[in-house]
């Protein structure tokens, strides 16, 4: 079963109440063809478990890594992902769009 938006936010609350470090990622801007609309959420815990999505699976790995930093430092981050750069092994969106993702700690 796919996670619904309510399930994602509920998981964020439950994980935090269980004493885990938790971060919430939100798509705040998109340009061109973007797989998930503005407002889409992804919740991540300190061990890298996650629920929801901010892209079609292209950049979740990178967002999870950054989220673990955010959980440690407590400082929000704004991430931007563009077209995948094949030669540089950088993650990106193969669909050709650009997205900006806000990652914040749940505290």
């Amino acid at each position: 079963m796919l996670a619904r938006d309510e399930d994602i936010l509920k998981a964020a609350e439950d994980w935090r109440r269980d004493g885990k470090g938790v971060a919430l990622a939100t798509v705040v801007e998109t340009w061109g063809s973007a797989p998930r609309p503005v407002g889409s959420n992804l919740v991540i815990d300190e061990e890298g478990n996650f629920l929801g999505s901010v892209s079609g699976g292209c950049v979740e790995g990178a967002v999870v890594t950054e989220a673990i930093d955010v959980i440690e430092s407590g400082k929000s981050k704004m991430l931007e992902f563009g077209v995948a750069d094949e030669t540089a092994w950088k993650v990106g969106l193969s669909c050709g769009g650009t997205i900006r993702v806000l990652v914040e700690k749940v505290d």
Partner: protein, 235 residues
């Protein structure tokens, strides 16, 4: 995000109430505005427009650039008739993210064995529907083929601004239904809102195929802005 904001947001979502999270992207300052409190907020006009569209996004406001995450209730499907089509429709709608309720006063039909995963109310529409709080985030389908059950249910749906209203039946059956509903006070605007025969015309035969055609039509109604934008592009 503050845990208090998050848990208030979750409580509002669980009660099918809209809410907006206002975030300053530069300072990370954040507040939650409940749907009912939007009118009292300093940026009420902006928030009202966002609630109507249901879309999240950046906005320039007198208090600076803010990001608005808009949470409107998930769409809901109310099906009148615990019939064969509903048995296929209910799980399909659930998979598409709808909260589903089935209403049928005939207790032989309205059983949890036939509908294992959704609430089934074995009551007449006049008893079952008012407490459901049917709203503009609700798709409403009348599937019993029985005027005693479908007609009063449709009259209730007209009054509640459902984003989709559909009714099962051939053109001929629907013609007779329009006559009856008119006789019971339905306006021409109300009657024009009924999608009947229900569903997109894809030549569906089996109940699951009919359910696909209904869910496709409901999806089109839910996403009508996108549908219109695409048609404009083609034209």
């Amino acid at each position: 995000m503050d845990l208090k904001i998050l848990s208030t947001l979750n409580a509002e979502r669980a009660s099918r109430r809209a809410a907006i999270v206002v975030t300053n992207p530069d300072t990370s300052a954040q507040r939650l505005v409940k749907g009912e409190d939007v009118g009292r907020d300093p940026i009420a006009d902006v928030l009202r427009a966002r609630l109507r569209s249901g879309k999240s996004g950046m906005e320039e406001t007198p208090e600076g650039r803010v990001f608005l995450t808009v949470y409107v209730p998930p769409p809901r499907l109310v099906a009148i008739g615990a019939v064969h089509i509903s048995q296929a429709l209910a799980p399909m709608a659930k998979m598409l993210g709808y909260d589903v309720t089935v209403v049928d006063p005939r207790t032989a039909f309205a059983t949890s064995e036939r509908f294992p995963d959704v609430p089934v109310i074995a009551e007449w529409p006049d008893v079952a529907l008012p407490p459901l709080g049917i709203d503009r985030y609700t798709a409403f389908v009348a599937l019993t083929h029985d005027p005693k059950i479908d007609d009063p249910a449709l009259l209730h749906a007209f009054a509640k601004e459902c984003f989709y209203i559909g009714a099962l039946g051939s053109r001929k059956t629907h013609g007779r239904r329009l006559e009856r509903l008119k006789g019971q006070g339905a306006s021409d605007d109300d009657l024009a809102r009924i999608h009947a025969p229900i569903g997109l015309n894809i030549g569906a035969i089996s109940p699951p195929e009919i359910a696909v055609s209904i869910m496709a039509e409901i999806t089109g109604a839910l996403r009508q802005e996108r549908v219109a934008a695409r048609q404009e592009k083609v034209a």
